[in-house]
Amino acid sequence: MINLLFLSSGLFMGWSLGANDAANIFGTAVGTKMVSFRTAAGISCIFIILGAVIGGSGASHGLGALGAVDQLAGAFVLSLSAAATVLWMTRFGLPVSTSQSIVGAIIGWNIYTGNPTDIGVLTKIAGTWVYGPILAGIFAAILFVVVRRIVNSATIHLLLLDRYTRFGLIVAGALGAYALGANNIANVMGVFIQAVQLPARQFFTVTLTGEQQLFLFGGIAIAVGVITYSKRVMMTVGNNLFKLSPVSAFVVVLATAMVLLLFSSTELSDFLHASGLPALPLIPVSQSQACVGAVLGIGLVKGGWRTINYRLLSKIGIGWITTPILSALLTYILLFFMQNVFMQPIH
């Protein structure tokens, strides 16, 4: 029971992720009524959970290299601080990243407990905040040029194109949901890996390790967020924030999914290592900011530099700095309370 209480902050983080980030996957599709919310939610839930359980390990261990939280109470505080920071920043209308918030919380824990922060790891992580969206923009621009050439040149009937686009949105959405689960489960359950040691269990014909069970709980929390709250956000995204055509939305979702998978795939990382090539760090990447990068990439192809929303970019830049700092500060304060008021071990 006490374990569940301490896991609650992570589960809340998962719910929040599902409520907000699923909209980046199916927002345009649902908002334009290409795909019904029920279909979008169903596909999101299934593939987020699959991604979390099957592919969540890479990014989680990447985050663990920054700071290994070994007590449940400490992990609870980290997750709570990160979630609170995300909520707080969202109220200010800033496009905040849960990944950056968790990183700040881990640094706060490091400072409080006296654990040294590996600057090399931190630099790698901070680097992904910059080149994650840039990579998404490049992928989106290339994909958009290819898709545009195909759509404009081919003699596909408008109604058939509509059918293919719906199918494409569903496939891209499934891939996007899997990538979100695989990459961002680290934000939800990553801090609990060291603190919660569950024995391996058999579920029907599948054996899940303790880590995978944690990811399953986190994935279910994300799925609950999708079902209970994401529709409202999807309608906003579909009609307001990103006014994308269905074809452009397909490109954005695909490009974002590719970036998230790149930063969470252990297979790809091993392959690059074996080939003597520099591997990408396996780190949770902000899906929202990757989305922004992808939309900007399409905008650059369509209309050049004048389409860049510098105001939005500056807001994101401010978020890179303020989110980790706020999260670290809040973590430090809450750890003090947890250790000295509630008398719980945090390290």
Partner: protein, 221 residues
């Protein structure tokens, strides 16, 4: 609604494609009947002329049903959300052509204007070019659905035939008001009126073609 969320796996798109194709065929058929009806009228084949009117009336009725069906399916099946409004307006505008052809032939049938032999050849060419303007428009509409880059070429043809019709209209009216073959002012005015109405068919086609060009640009990714 059953299967609402999984339209990709149903034949609703194909169903609407067939309905639209049927509707476009009605309009093409009506313009062909119109051209033949004008020949029948000018050459005095009254029985054949009346049969053509009956056919056009039937085509117009079927066209109205197909249009209603198209409008319903576009929104009920939530197809092509980003271009649905344009397709809706286009189909609605095309109905004007059907209505106009039917009305024009009925007015010919009711008023029975007498066209002197000296202008009959030009009248035939005028109605032929009006029919060609409609035909080019229909090719442009099909290109909007299948091959957007070809729309501009068909729109150009519509504009060409419309200009030719306008030139013929002016020639006929000038001749009617200067020749002794048409003595009565009332008859001259009636002929002028019908020339204007025949020419209006190509004007309607050109107006729709201009919108078609905009829809084609919007359709490009």
């Amino acid at each position: 609604m059953k299967g609402k969320g999984m339209q990709v796996f149903t034949n609703r798109s194909k169903d609407l494609m067939e309905t639209i194709e049927r509707y476009l065929e009605q309009i093409t058929a009506a313009s062909l009947h119109y051209d033949e009806a004008m020949k029948d009228y000018l050459e005095g084949r009254d029985t054949s002329f009346d049969e053509r009117i009956a056919k056009v009336t039937e085509i117009e009725r079927k066209g109205d049903e197909d249009l209603k069906d198209i409008k319903y399916k576009l929104y009920a099946f939530m197809l092509i959300p980003d271009t649905r409004g344009d397709v809706y307006m286009l189909m609605d505008d095309l109905d004007d052509i059907l209505d106009y052809i039917k009305r024009l032939l009925l007015e010919l049938s009711m008023e029975r204007p007498q066209f002197p032999p000296c202008i009959q050849e030009q009248l035939l060419r005028m109605s032929e070019y009006s029919a060609k303007a409609v035909e080019s428009l229909m090719l442009g509409v099909r290109a909007l659905f299948n091959q957007t880059k070809a729309v501009e070429e068909h729109v150009y043809r519509v504009a060409f035939y419309e200009r030719e019709v306008d030139t013929l209209e002016e020639e006929i009216v000038r001749h009617v008001f200067s020749t002794d073959d048409v003595a009565q002012l009332a008859q001259r005015m009636q002929i002028r009126n019908f020339c204007f109405r025949i020419a209006s068919l190509s004007d309607i086609s050109e107006d729709i073609a201009k919108n078609l060009l905009v829809y084609a640009v919007k359709r490009m990714v």
